[in-house]
Symmetry: C2
Subunit: 473 residues, 2 copies
């Protein structure tokens, strides 16, 4: 449809593709994992030391095997999701080491915060999937925290969850635990029950942890998002066109490796590359350049006929204020209008990924709900228009007490949870709460009502036993 | 392009059009102005009492005369604007009786507030045109306030301005004053130097003031936005499809009248119809239903080959908080992506049009700047991609000190005026300012630097003399 957002022509996307291939041929890409290098070699790829040089034919061959769409099963089958095509899933924030609380203070995140996010996701009307490392629990040993997080992800929420791509072992632990939950590892080998985030190390590298994780995930039938996060002007070129070519080279290499490990492996084309802030030298995720890239990323993924991941409720603000609202809304609306399939960071992020905020989580949920309503098509049938009714009400008439208004108002109109729609007097009488304060009051009500979803007690015991045995190994 | 926002098919838009025509045939539309009724009668329209019943042929004939695009000249020719096609103009908030200040208090607006908005618009990087009645000055007599506002609009800002459609006399005063500014009324008869907002009175009515204003504006060559503001479920049907048919009937009637007064009169197809809030019974302008209608309005205007007006930075929040940021950003991005040409209410609105806020004005300006950057196409040439440079930097390299980064970073990246992009420590040291507080501090700096734009002293004297003579008449 007519849209002022830039639509890339097929020729432009081909140019980006060709540039990526030329780049891989000229510079190669550093693969910091012995098994991954072996896989490339075995399949006839040119390898020099740690550098791999994929060719057009090799990449095209791999791309031809990528599924356009796949499902991720939840332990509550009603909550299974579909990734690809017109479908989309909203996921929470990811990887934040800190919590910013209602007073604006920043503190290290703890395991209890992780659990609280699992509870919020379980009870969310708008978030479709549980995340991974919504916060990094600073109170747990780094070597085993992934076990506790995976346990909470499975027990506290019955939506599909994200995997733990912290290392080969982290992935294998996640697979074992999913196997317990689904009654055997063989049950999930051809059935995605999680999705995991594999990031490149820009420019033109992949770390050993990420490569090992990717290989084990794919080997066990679990989908990967292969994503790049370039900071334009620092870890990538200053132009967005250059960023697109560079990130595309990285993503295509990861996706190619996945297809070499297992043909037809479900993968997602991902990027959240953005601009460097020129004053601080830091990454800006509220930057409009990221919203441009969100749209280009979705277009490139469609060009390759595969699902995309980008965007979310992204902001550089350090508090759920007007900046957080504006930046998150712009990014989220761009993400969903642009056709992104996997929306990580939909809720909760503050300060360029540094922190999660419970109040911001609820605020972002409302934005998710609003955007869902915006993109929901309306019915333009004779019945929906109902000319006879409008003619009957006539000039100067009123519709407030019309039976049709009563009948349809709840299905036609979005009912906000947090947004203030009163007048100034009523707002003043209610204490002039700003939306972050409204969110704070709703938060405690919601957590008070949380109920842990049912699970077979045997499975719960086995999961706990697995975690304990691994901790004591 | 691929977009999850609903694209109406030609068949769906034809259905809306046909429904509007059927409605006008069945119910008619009440025209509360003697001259307007005479014009319709004289042109062979069926008129019964105050009701007019336009036919398909009569409306189509009028529509065929509407220009697709037109220019509005500013007294500073560098600031003239174009309305229609891919071009858009951003205008400030309109019609608010109150100011909500930085403390959240609401007070009656005064003429000095109006003047302050003129100064902000004059110095705005993002607002293209001066508005009309950004606030309603409660300290001036209602009968003559339009004279003071028009004088300020012309003197304090050299961008194109909006006209005063308060009454026939209000319009004629505006024409006289524009005539003084342009060296004679004959100079503007075929040259738009203003645009004015003509609203229907839903359902299916036009007031005497609006009709008289429309006739005089068109007669003097000045463009009109013909707009409808239906509250779905109160002054219009509960379904958006019904609202579309009803508002279309109203808008087409106004546009038809304009073409009967003067063939080829520049007009704009406008709507900001939205939903009723089910809890308060009031109009919600932060509602996602309005953002849907923004898109449909732009599509219907393109269907008729004429410019559109909708949207803006719209919110129900009573303070520039996270809600204001989120709602305004959603509406503004939808407006600009959707292809709207005339964006009234881009900056400053709070509380469902009840108030303007200076801090919100600056916050919305930042959103306008970000959206402009988002929709600015990028260059995907070989030079912009620059594969040799990326290959040379190579795996693990850095771009921060690369000459190209220095050369292009200011043109490639949007530089925010208000948005915080520091870390938590720096934010804390700076006093943990939220964006509304940052806006407050920028506001006084900006107003302190304001300089009144040059104008011929003779013109300024004549304008003041006109205002005085009319006040003493």
């Amino acid at each position: 449809m007519y849209d002022r957002m830039q639509e890339l022509s097929s020729a432009q996307m081909t140019k980006v593709h060709d540039a990526s291939m030329e780049l891989l041929g000229k510079a190669g890409i550093v693969i910091n994992d012995t098994e991954a290098l072996e896989i490339f070699k075995k399949n006839g790829f040119k390898v020099e030391g740690k550098k791999v040089f994929p060719t057009e034919t090799q990449v095209r061959d791999a791309l031809s095997k990528v599924p356009e769409k796949f499902a991720i099963e939840a332990r509550n089958p009603e909550k299974s999701v579909s990734v690809g095509g017109d479908d989309f899933v909203l996921l929470p924030g990811y990887g934040a080491p800190y919590i910013i609380d209602a007073s604006g203070d920043q503190r290290e995140a703890r395991m209890e915060d992780y659990d609280t996010f699992c509870k919020l996701i379980h009870t969310s009307k708008h978030i479709d999937m549980n995340g991974w490392m919504m916060v990094e629990p600073g109170d747990l040993p780094a070597a085993t925290a992934h076990l506790d997080m995976t346990l909470s992800s499975i027990l506290l929420c019955d939506k599909p969850f994200m995997g733990s791509p912290v290392s080969r072992q982290g992935v294998l632990d996640g697979i074992e635990m999913a196997g317990i939950a689904w009654g055997g590892k063989d049950k999930i080998m051809d059935k995605p029950v999680s999705i995991s985030l594999i990031n490149s190390l820009s420019p033109l590298q992949f770390s050993e942890e990420m490569l090992g994780s990717l290989i084990e995930l794919v080997r066990h039938g679990q989908p990967c998002i292969v994503a790049s996060l370039i900071m334009a002007g620092a870890s990538g070129p200053v132009t967005l066109a250059g960023v697109m070519a560079l990130q595309n080279a990285e993503i295509l290499t990861g996706i190619t490796l996945a297809q070499l490990v297992r043909e037809g492996a479900p993968v997602v084309y991902g990027s959240t590359s953005s601009a460097m802030d020129m004053k601080t030298g830091g990454l800006s995720i509220g930057a409009p350049e990221l919203s441009k890239n969100i749209n280009y990323t979705a277009q490139m993924a469609r060009f390759y006929n595969m699902p995309s991941r980008s965007g979310g409720g992204l902001t550089d603000a350090l508090y759920p204020d007007g900046q957080a609202g504006a930046e998150s809304a712009l990014a989220l609306l761009n993400t969903l209008r642009g056709g992104v399939n996997c929306v990580l960071h939909s809720c909760g992020i503050l300060g360029s990924y540094i922190a999660m905020s419970f109040e911001k989580f609820l605020m972002d949920e409302e934005i998710c709900g609003m955007v869902r309503q915006m993109i929901k098509p309306i019915d333009i049938s004779d019945e929906a228009i109902d000319i006879d009714m409008i003619a009957e009400v006539g000039p100067g008439g009123q519709y407030l007490t019309h039976p049709k208004t009563f009948k349809l108002c709840r299905s036609e109109f979005y009912m906000p949870d947090l947004m203030v729609r009163t007048n100034h007097d009523a707002w003043t009488k209610a204490g002039r709460l700003k939306i972050d304060e409204v969110a704070g009051s709703k938060l405690s009500q919601r957590l008070a009502k949380y109920e842990k979803p049912d699970i077979d007690p045997g499975i719960e015991k086995d999961l706990a036993a697995y975690v304990n045995s691994r901790k004591n190994a």
